[in-house]
Every structure is written in structure tokens, then in C-alpha cells.
Symmetry: C2
Subunit: 110 residues, 2 copies
DNA sequence: CTCCATATATATAAATAAATATATATACAA
DNA sequence: TTGTATATATATTTATTTATATATATGGAG
């Protein structure tokens, strides 16, 4: 049985993972892979309304996933920790493995 | 701008990440770190009702995160891919970094 | 300094999805 | 058929997403 403290940590982890549970946020994170980008720039690239991008960035920001930097009228966002990309890439691999397995399974019925 | 196919992949990734966005499911995943466990065993260890554990396992199973193995009356669950643990550990590190930063920040105001 | 334009953030309401508790169903072995 | 382990259904509560509108922050012109 986990201790209270462990449970608290798992709750924090769950909250961080929750920020990865929306594809638009994953798209945003992916855009920040190679460096910082402005809010409007993200909205343009992803063809999403500014308010949506800003809202999602706020969520990511509150959970410490991204960090803003204001430069005059613009705000640049970057990933707070590069390990976030590593984690996303691992999930990508797991997903591909799973899809490959499904494919195999499907093939057996052809 | 991402392609339709890319967006589909990100949606699948988001769905998988969504399974990590609940602390009970993270507790379950953590229990499976070193090998398979039965449903009732998990319920006992985590002090959760059987129906809840079974339901959460069903979610994880549907997204390919865990795999069941029936042995008579019992069902053993294991992680489908060990990379899941690596990903969770990365999130753990990111979280610790973040907490450390907050601590630093807090210290500056003491 | 005031007014305006631009970039970003937030508030709110409506729609949608998820979690929980409780009850019930299924699967298997004796 | 009975007991044990696991799974599912449903209703209720609670949280999340989206769209729309509005607010704030900053820099520049006059």
C-alpha cells in the first residue's frame, strides 16, 4: 500500500500527464520541440483560434510543462524540460508497437 | 501545419496519455512495474473497491497499456510495453525538477 | 499623456466527457 | 449449483472543452 506522500506525488504526476491528454496540446508541445515559438505563430501553424492556443498554453504553463518569455508585445513559449520530449517519444514508440501488434493480429485473420 | 495522418497519430497518443491522467491508474501501473498482478491483489494493495480497479484496468487494456492473462478463475495483468515505465519515470524526473525549481523560487522570498 | 493597433489572456456559458458508487452479470472451478 | 474472481451497466456527480466575447499588456503615433 502506497503512503500518503506517494499518493500526493502520483496525483501531481497524473496532473502533468493530463496536460498530454489532448491532441492539440500534444501538437503544441511538438511544435516546441526544436525551440520557442510565439502564441500567434502556433495558432497559425496549427490552424487553431488564438483563444484556444492561449488557453491550452495556460494549462501547460500552470503544470510547468512550458515556460513563457515576454519580448515586447510578443510572448515566446518553450518547453520547460527537454525530458518532456523524450517522454513523448517513448509514448510514440509504445503506440507504434501497439499498432504493429494489431496489424499482426489483423493479418492472422486474412 | 500537421497533416491529417499526423493529427490522427497525435489523437491516438493523446488517448494513451489520457490513461496516465488519473492517479489510481498510475498507482496500478506502478504496481505492475516489476511483474504481473491479479485484479484482487491490486485492489487489496491499493485499498480500492474491486469494481474501480477492474474498470480502470479495462481502460488501460483498451488503450493497449496493460495486457490480461487468464489463469483459471484469476486474471493477471501486466504492462504491455516496458517503455511505459521509462516514460513514467521521465515524467517523475520532470516533476521533481519542477518541484525543485519552485522550492528555489520560494527560497528566494524567505 | 492619450489614443490606437496588435498580441495575448481570461471569463463565462453551453456542450461533452469522465469518475464514482452501486448493483448486477459473467466466467470458471469444485 | 455454489462460491470466488472479475467485468460491466447505469445513474449521478464532477470536470473538461469549446466558442464567443471581452479584458489586459505593450509599443508607437500624434
Amino acid at each position: 500500500m502506497p503512503t500518503e506522500r506517494e499518493i500526493e506525488l502520483f496525483k501531481l504526476k497524473a496532473e502533468m500527464c493530463k496536460t498530454f491528454s489532448d491532441y492539440k496540446r500534444l501538437l503544441i508541445i511538438n511544435q516546441l520541440r526544436y525551440g520557442e515559438k510565439q502564441v500567434g505563430e502556433l495558432a497559425d501553424i496549427l490552424k487553431l483560434p488564438q483563444a484556444i492556443v492561449s488557453r491550452q498554453l495556460a494549462l501547460l504553463r500552470n503544470k510547468g510543462v512550458v515556460t513563457p518569455r515576454r519580448e515586447g508585445i510578443n510572448v515566446f513559449y518553450r518547453l520547460t524540460d527537454e525530458k518532456i520530449i523524450e517522454a513523448c517519444d517513448l509514448v510514440h514508440e509504445v503506440l507504434l508497437n501497439r499498432l504493429a501488434k494489431n496489424r499482426e493480429q489483423a493479418d492472422r485473420y486474412l
